[in-house]
Amino acid sequence: MLHKFSELKILEPSRVRVSEARLDEIDVEIDGELIRGVRPRRPFPFSYPEIVILYKDKEELGILRDYRNLDTRSRELLEKVLKVVYFMPKIRRVLNIRSVEGKYEWKVITDKGELTFFTWGRCVRVLRDGRLLVRDIYSRAYIVDEPEKLDNRSRLYLSMMI
């Protein structure tokens, strides 16, 4: 390999302990050294959500190959932050999609409750694993986890937009 992986600063889970979580920041101990205000970022939020890169300001502290291998408390704290940073309602049912003045009005039921939002014509992206990403006119994303498992009506509406 041309680029040695060692240059990638891989963080072994055992070296990392998360002690605090605040909205989009965590306090983290790496090799016992406490670093405050660390921002976790996913390089592949859809294809490899388990990979997380930790940033302190602009500096890259290292890559967690799979954050789920952290100890339970660290993992829970990190997930709390990831939930904020990668907030994305999951669409469970599509109640209606209708065209309104060149836009589309979606009425959906998500894991965060019932929602209404507007999209442009081209708004659905099919992710490689088959999940659907719907983007509204404000560029907010909504995800459909298993489109084929939705009820018939929802699937009919979605197929209209893909």
Partner: protein, 741 residues
């Protein structure tokens, strides 16, 4: 008008193909290699034969008018003017203009020139040249008649033949069932109502019901087969053409242009489908209808049938006149419309121009003028149509009135039943439409052949870059040898003229030279995207032609000047060059290409979509993604065409530094305009006008008073000027601040 023979070139003609007066000129052992014909003699239309033999080039106009021994020829070329081209042959004494022809013959003369150059410049062994030409010539001869095109099209559609047959059968059946109804009505009127046979009534009613049921069923089947057939035709043809696209060489893409290929894959395929379903299938339907209904009519009443045929010639004539003139009227209408569209488009797209020059009033006037023109053209179409159709309509009215007149008399006389007359008029209308349909079908068949021909043109292309049957997988070591390479994209202009270059394993070469000097072409040849017409490119002593294309492309990576990205995610674009890629490798490659930081700033990071052709990224970002893709392949040979052109000075510096690290020990060819990018290369090769003109290290080249020194000094001057401007700006800013204070 262009004829097929316009661009024919006779290659190694058989004795009877050689004109007698040419044969007479041949000396002992002299063999005709190629013959082309001009269409001009001097400044007038006329014909001359230009003959290439193994010894000389002759121009023959009934008798020999010019002759030049090949031993004196340095190279041949074509000079192009607006309409004409001149075949020119350079000798050591100077250039000779041998023959003039219009651009209509350019293709043939192109080949002719290439053959001459292959002999005198490329010095290709004569036997090899002859074999190549003879084998190529056999491929070139293809017939293109309407019948042949349609038969071939049907051959392509063989897999869906059952569907095609079923569609025709069902469609014919519908028409035939339709014929029974008037017959039943005749029985109803004559035998049941008039003759009072009440017992038959129930049979007639049940018969009518049955016919309607069968008809409904057949119509459903017809719609089903029709839809299925349409999709099947398009899919069968399009996947054939699409697969062919991947086989084509880049030269074909250059020749047809992306728009041209696009229209073959999308438009022509649709056209074939449309003509097939609207001309080919109806042809059978209409022909069978004309036969059945014609016979039925004649059986009912021969005299009336002849009257019924009367308006047909009038209508055919009307149709022909209409078609001939309508295209003119409609074309005019379309031209007027497109002018309106172009004003609207200018107004919207060049709004800033219109506004900044205060041209709103002019545009509005122009627009309104065009609107009026359009309205006038529309009215002309209306007037024109009114001259034809009423006359045709009158002919039909006259014939049907005559039928009622004579038929009415027959019924009153008792020589014809009322039911028969009613059936006759009903059949008569069923007779007209298939007759006109047939005329339309024949015309559409020709259009079908044209559209099919355009598809075959693509399917018949032979890729220029073909893998040798005995091509092998080779583990490259990194040495490249380029021996007397000549290359031309168009057969006229040579982008490379005898380039010889040896690159050692692990050597880092900088390729510099003015735009159009052949740097990028050479790089593309290294990747075997094209084959040189003359000369060879070898990788560690193996000719590129003998290496499997995929094997070469796995080990040689190129980053193009304006890199093209796929409409996919950044991760997909980086992983393109390699099959199974771990996410860490993607990150590592991106870091090496200085792409990681900007990628991580995007909310979706590596999962971000780049848009059509990478439109959501800036030029510099695209360049870095493309570089990452090339690095991920871990290629033995890395070719970078202006890798830093789209980068700002700071990033360029960073990338150059990174490039230096990762190219260490790897054969690398860097094409650069900014000479500072080349500071770490082992050797710099300077190209000009398709040739290598200088070679050496940066210091060596500066010592020589050559092109490199000029380029270097020009860039230094540019830099100094920039620094001076910046300094001046700084001064004036300071002055400004002082004044304000």
């Amino acid at each position: 008008m262009s004829h097929a023979e316009d661009n024919s070139i006779l290659v190694y003609p058989s004795p009877d193909e050689i004109p007698l007066f040419v044969k007479d000129l041949l000396q002992n052992g002299e063999e005709v290699v190629a013959v082309v014909k001009t269409d001009l003699v001097g400044g007038d239309y006329g014909e001359e034969q230009v003959v290439l033999t193994n010894r000389r080039i002759m121009v023959v106009n009934e008798k020999l008018s010019n002759s030049l021994p090949l031993s004196k020829v340095v190279a041949a070329s074509i000079r192009g003017y607006i309409n004409t081209c001149v075949l020119t042959v350079d000798t050591e004494e100077g250039s000779n203009s041998l023959a003039v022809f219009t651009r209509g013959r350019l293709e043939a003369f192109d080949k002719f020139v290439t053959i001459i150059n292959n002999m005198v410049v490329g010095k290709i062994p004569y036997e090899l040249l002859k074999n190549q030409l003879l084998s190529k010539m056999k491929e070139g001869q293809k017939q293109r008649s309407v019948r042949a095109a349609i038969l071939r099209l049907l051959g392509l559609l063989k897999p869906i033949a059952p569907l095609l047959v079923a569609s025709v059968v069902v469609a014919v059946a519908i028409r035939l069932v339709g014929l029974v109804q008037p017959y039943l009505m005749k029985i109803l009127v004559d035998d049941v109502l008039t003759a009072g046979r009440a017992d038959l009534l129930i049979y007639v009613i049940v018969g009518l019901l049955a016919i309607n049921l069968v008809n409904t069923l057949l119509n459903t089947l017809n719609a089903f087969f029709g839809t299925k057939l349409n999709v099947a035709i398009v899919n069968t043809l399009r996947s054939r053409v699409y697969r062919k696209l991947h086989e084509l060489s880049l030269t074909h893409y250059d020749r047809f242009g992306s728009g041209g290929l696009w229209s073959r894959v999308v438009d022509d395929v649709n056209r074939v489908q449309w003509f097939l379903t609207s001309a080919f299938i109806p042809l059978f339907i209409n022909a069978s209808m004309v036969a059945f209904v014609g016979v039925t009519l004649a059986t009912l009443n021969l005299w009336l049938t002849l009257i019924a045929l009367m308006p047909i010639p009038v209508s055919v004539a009307g149709n022909l006149i209409y078609r001939k003139a309508a295209s003119r009227y409609y074309h005019r209408l379309w031209r007027k419309w497109s002018r309106i569209v172009s004003v609207i488009s200018d107004t919207i797209n060049a709004a800033i121009l219109v506004k900044s020059f205060g041209k709103e009033e002019d545009f509005t006037k122009k627009f309104e003028g065009y609107q009026t023109d359009y309205e006038r053209a529309q009215m002309d179409v209306f007037k024109f149509e009114q001259q034809i159709w009423p006359a045709v309509g009158l002919a039909f009215t006259a014939s049907s009135l005559l039928i009622w007149w004579f038929g009415g008399h027959d019924v009153l006389k008792g020589s014809m039943s009322l039911g028969s007359l009613m059936a006759f008029t009903s059949y008569m209308w069923q007779f007209y439409s298939p007759v006109f349909g047939l005329i339309e079908n024949v015309r559409n068949l020709q259009l079908l052949a044209v559209a099919a021909g355009r598809i075959f043109e693509i399917l018949d292309l032979e890729p220029d870059v073909q893998e040798a049957p005995d091509a092998i997988d080779v583990e490259l070591d990194g040495g490249i040898e380029c021996e007397n390479v000549w290359f031309t994209y168009d057969g006229i202009h040579y982008a490379l003229k005898g380039v010889t270059l040896r690159i050692r394993r692990g050597e880092r070469i900088g390729l510099v030279g003015p735009s159009g000097s052949g740097k990028t072409t050479l790089a593309k040849l290294f990747l075997h995207l094209y084959d040189p017409q003359v000369g060879s490119i070898k990788y560690d002593d193996t000719d590129a032609k003998r290496i499997k294309l995929n094997s070469l492309k796995d080990q040689v990576a190129i980053v193009l000047q304006n890199p093209v990205l796929l409409d996919a995610t950044i991760a997909d674009n980086i992983a393109l060059g390699k099959g199974d890629v771990a996410p860490e490798e993607i990150i590592a490659a991106a870091k090496a290409a200085k792409a990681h930081d900007f990628v991580m700033k995007l909310p979706e990071a590596y999962d971000s979509e780049v848009g059509m052709q990478g439109s959501r990224l800036s030029g510099g970002e695209r360049a870095r993604v493309a570089l990452a893709a090339a690095l991920l392949k871990n290629p033995k040979v890395l070719i970078l065409d202006e890798p830093t052109a789209a980068l700002d000075a700071l990033t360029e510096d960073e990338v150059t530094e990174e490039l230096e690290k990762m190219t260490k020990g790897r054969t690398t060819i860097i094409i650069a305009h900014r000479l500072s990018t080349l500071r770490f290369t082992d050797r710099i090769v300077v190209m000009e006008n398709g040739k290598v003109v200088e070679e050496g290290t940066h210091e060596d080249l500066l010592q020589r008073d050559g092109l490199y020194k000029k380029l270097w000094e020009a860039q230094l001057r540019g830099l100094t000027r920039m620094t001076t401007i910046e300094a001046n700006e700084q001064v004036s800013r300071e002055e400004y601040v002082t004044q304000v204070q």
